[in-house]
Every structure is written in C-alpha cells, then in structure tokens.
C-alpha cells in the first residue's frame, strides 16, 4: 500500500479543521504542534489557512510514560508556549497517531500550564493502533500497518511519509 502525500492531505485537513472549529463555536484557537513532526504539520496547516497566530511548540520528553523503560530522550528541547493556556481553546497537532501515549503526555504537560477551555486533536495520520481512548477530531488519513512497521514523517519542507521496518529483536 502506498503512503499518502502530505501535500494533498493538508488542504483537506485545513477544511475539516475550519468546519470542526465552526461547529463548536471556537474563535481564535491557539495552535500547538508536538515536536518534531507535529510542528511541521502545524506550520503547513497554518500556512494553508493563512493563519498568522503564534504557534506553540510542545516537547513531551519530560512527560512520557515510558521513561522507566526507555529513559530520557537525548535531544530534549524546551517547550515554547508564547500565550496563555488558561481558559483558551487549543488545537493540538501531531504527525502520526499510534498508541495515543504521546497525546496523553502532551495533555498532561498542557495542564501544567493552566486549564484550557478545550483541546482539539489534529493528526496527519491515524495508524488505527490506539491503546488509549484518544481520538483525533481531524485526521488526514487512516491506515493500518503490518506488525513491525512504522511510518515516519520527513520534513519540514517538503513533507513526506516514509515506511520503516523495525529490526526484529
């Protein structure tokens, strides 16, 4: 199965996001990308939507639930949220939704900054492998992988999806 082209997914996602926000009566949401791939997707989305508001960047390394198994990510960088979280409507953007654990970590981190009015989730790809009750509000494409396969987003420009096979242990 060929992987979709992100350049074709972004316009559809932008439309779907606008409709989602309109349906829920959300004005002036704050956009937040999850480092690294989610930030690229967010930048592409904001550009397509001609949205000029500041983009927040979240690094969830300190909030991952697999620290005791996998340790600390060596290239952790500071999160940058140049706006208030308290009482705001947030749009959280990631590249590939797999288990949902990254999104959970991201939500835990966001709540340490304040209590948002709402969080909407946008993902480029949903791999239909969720381990938590976390579902995207807007998704570019859904696909299932063979066991041992992963998808990685390459970027920032142009965005491309790449299939990877994990080395068998």
């Amino acid at each position: 199965m060929t992987l979709p082209d992100p350049a074709l997914l972004i316009p559809q996602m932008a439309d779907a996001l606008s409709q989602h926000l309109a349906r829920h009566g959300i004005d002036e949401p704050q956009f937040i990308g999850i480092r690294t791939g989610g930030v690229w997707v967010a930048q592409a989305l904001l550009e397509h939507m001609a949205e000029s508001s500041a983009l927040g960047v979240l690094d969830v390394s300190f909030y991952r639930d697999d620290f005791t198994r996998n340790g600390l990510h060596p290239q952790v960088q500071p999160s940058e949220l140049p706006f208030e979280i308290e009482g705001r409507h947030l749009v959280l953007i990631d590249d590939v939704l797999m288990s949902g654990r990254t999104v959970r970590a991201a939500m835990n981190e966001l709540f340490d900054y304040g209590r948002p009015a709402s969080i909407s989730l946008v993902c480029l790809l949903d791999l239909d492998a969720r381990e938590l009750p976390i579902r995207p509000d807007v998704v570019g494409a859904t696909l299932s992988l063979e066991p041992g396969e992963r998808v990685k987003l390459l970027g920032p420009a142009p965005l491309a999806l790449e299939r990877q096979t994990l080395a068998a242990h």
């Binding site: 198994r69 340790g71 600390l72 340490d112 900054y113």
Partner: protein
C-alpha cells in the same frame, strides 16, 4: 583517578549512570547535560514547576559535610522531577573512612533508594560508594573533599554558555584559593573539554596546587595581569576551614592582593561576567560593589544549579534503566 579504570560512571552505551567527576566525560556528553538543563530551565519558569519524570523514585541526599545551596538545590531538583526526597545530614565522625562509608552504605542500601546524592569531606568518597553500591542505584557526587564538584562545574558552564555563548572564543579566569577548591578542578576540566582556548588560574603560590599544567591552564600570581581582557571571572571562596598552618598572612592581605574590586574588574573585558559558587565572603575575596554589581551573575548560578541537577538526576536514572535493560537482554540470550 578515574581515567585509568573502566568508566564507572558510564553504562555500556556511554550514557551517564553515576555522576562522579567530569574527568573522562566527552564534549558531546557535557553538551547533552547543558542542553537538557536548558529545557529544565524552561520548566522552572512555569506556574507548575514540576514534571513527572522521576515519579515513584526515591532520591536520598546524604550530606557528610555542611551545605546549604547544594543540598537545597538538589532537593528542589528532585522534587521538581516528582521524586520522593529525603535528606540525611550525617556528621563526619573520626572513624576511619573505609569503615564509616561501608557501614553507611549498608544502611543506605537498606532504604531501597534509587539514587544517592553524596557530599563528603574526603576525596573519592562518592567514587568509593559507586564502586560498592548494589546495581541499579545511581550515585551523584555533591562534592568530595578537594577532588570534584561536578554539578557545580556544569552549572558554571551553563552560566557561561547562557551569558557568553560558545566556549571556543572565551577567556576565563579562576581566581583565589585553587588549592582547596574542588570547584576549580571541575571547572578546569569542563572548560578544557568544552574547548575553551584560554583558561587562566590566578592565586598566591601557597594556594596553587602542584600539577596545574595537566589542565592546560595559564598560571598567574599577579591578579592584574591575569584579569587582562578576560570574558569570565570565576571567584572562589577562601576556604579557611580547610587551611592548616600559615598559608596566608591575613584576610586583609589576601583581599588587597586577590580581592575582586571594581577597579580590578575594569581590567577585564567590559562585558565580562563575575561568578562565584557561594557562599561569598564579602571583603575577603570579593567586594560588595562587585558581588551586587551589574556584571555579577552569582544569583543566576543558583537558578541554573537547579536545572543542571535536574538534568543530571534524570540522565543518570535514565542510564541506569538502559543498563538494566541491556543486562536482562544479555541474560535472556545466555
């Protein structure tokens, strides 16, 4: 002392699992510590200054020697990582080092802590404990005798990097009681590893240790000469409590020759920063006008110290975890 042995403080993947000395640590690893600390600084600026990284872990601070800043910043660092923290102030008795440490070690192991931060008056104490502690427990050196104070060394490097940028163009002077200073040793090692081309050491001959050449430093006994054009001045505390005999005529004389006054600071680069590991002795090694002046970053150092300690605690815990995985995988294969 660690160089000839296999690197006790690193795991099989070359990650930290203890933090005992900056000796033998690569530039990449030092930069990783600084980068991780930068991210923790951002956490310290939030309303909720806490991340869940070490939730459920127990960190035990064991201080055989007095400390306020190091002890409290290690405590804060562990708490901001969501670890449970206990602090033991163990007064140093006159029993011999081997007996005291071995006994103490057995007691500490019985507490089933995941990590110990150790400060001790004897050089090599943290190293000794790391060699004998049960596997999976990380030992962090909070200062051992005259040997090393690696978290202070790294927080000084973070201070320099944040205020002056890259190390490869900087001129750094370390001034005062070098002989008794573990901070000076850790700083010289870190600066050399990070590629600082001009490291100067300034002090009276009686307070300069032998063998300074191995650190690749220039030695000055004349402070005015040594300070000329430097970008960073690291002042050290005069450690009267460690001095036996007549190393110094008097504190007044020391201040006259090696105290950092505004007049002397004017010899350095006009943009130079002034650092001090604390506690400062006003009027002994540093003039109040300098300590409280616009070029002083002494209080910033304390803030950076929390972030550095958060970085080291989480990286060592992470390295222990990785080692445990490697060990269990090789057991499965065997």
């Amino acid at each position: 002392m660690t160089a000839a042995k296999p690197p006790l403080q690193l795991n099989d993947q070359g990650q930290l699992r203890h933090f005992l000395s900056l000796d033998g640590l690569s530039r990449d690893l030092l930069n990783e510590i600084l980068d991780t600390a930068d991210s923790f600084l951002e956490v310290g600026a939030r309303a909720v200054k806490k991340v869940p990284l070490l939730r459920g872990k127990t960190v035990c601070n064991v201080f055989f020697e007095n400390s306020t800043r190091t002890r409290t910043t290690f405590e804060l660092a562990a708490k901001r990582l969501s670890a449970d923290v206990i602090t033991l102030n163990v007064s140093t008795s006159s029993t011999s080092k081997g007996e005291t440490l071995t006994d103490t070690l057995r007691n500490l192991e019985a507490m089933a802590a995941d990590m110990f931060v150790v400060r001790h008056g004897d050089s090599g104490a943290a190293h000794f404990i790391a060699e004998h502690v049960c596997p999976g427990v990380a030992i962090i050196n909070g200062g051992d005798g005259r040997h090393a104070h690696p978290t202070q060394g790294m927080l000084d490097m973070l201070t320099i990097r944040r205020h002056k940028g890259d190390f490869d163009k900087l001129s750094v002077a370390i001034v005062g009681d070098i002989l008794h200073s573990r901070v000076a040793r850790s700083n010289m090692l870190a600066l050399k590893t990070l590629g600082c081309p001009d490291i100067r050491v300034i002090g009276p001959r009686t307070l300069l240790p032998v063998g300074l050449e191995q650190y690749g430093v220039q030695v000055f006994t004349d402070m005015d000469q040594g300070l000329a054009g430097v970008d960073v001045v690291i002042m050290l505390r005069l450690q009267r409590e460690r001095m036996q005999g007549g190393l110094l005529p008097s504190e007044g004389e020391f201040f006259r020759l090696y105290g950092l006054t505004p007049q002397r600071l004017a010899l350095a680069n006009p943009e130079a920063i002034v650092m001090h590991p604390g506690p400062i002795n006003r009027g002994v090694e540093i003039d109040s006008a300098v300590a409280d002046g616009s070029q002083s970053v002494i209080l910033n150092q304390v803030t950076y110290g929390i972030a550095i300690r958060m970085a080291v605690l989480s990286m060592a815990m992470s390295g222990q975890t990785a080692q445990r995985q490697t060990n269990s995988e090789s057991e499965e294969q065997a």
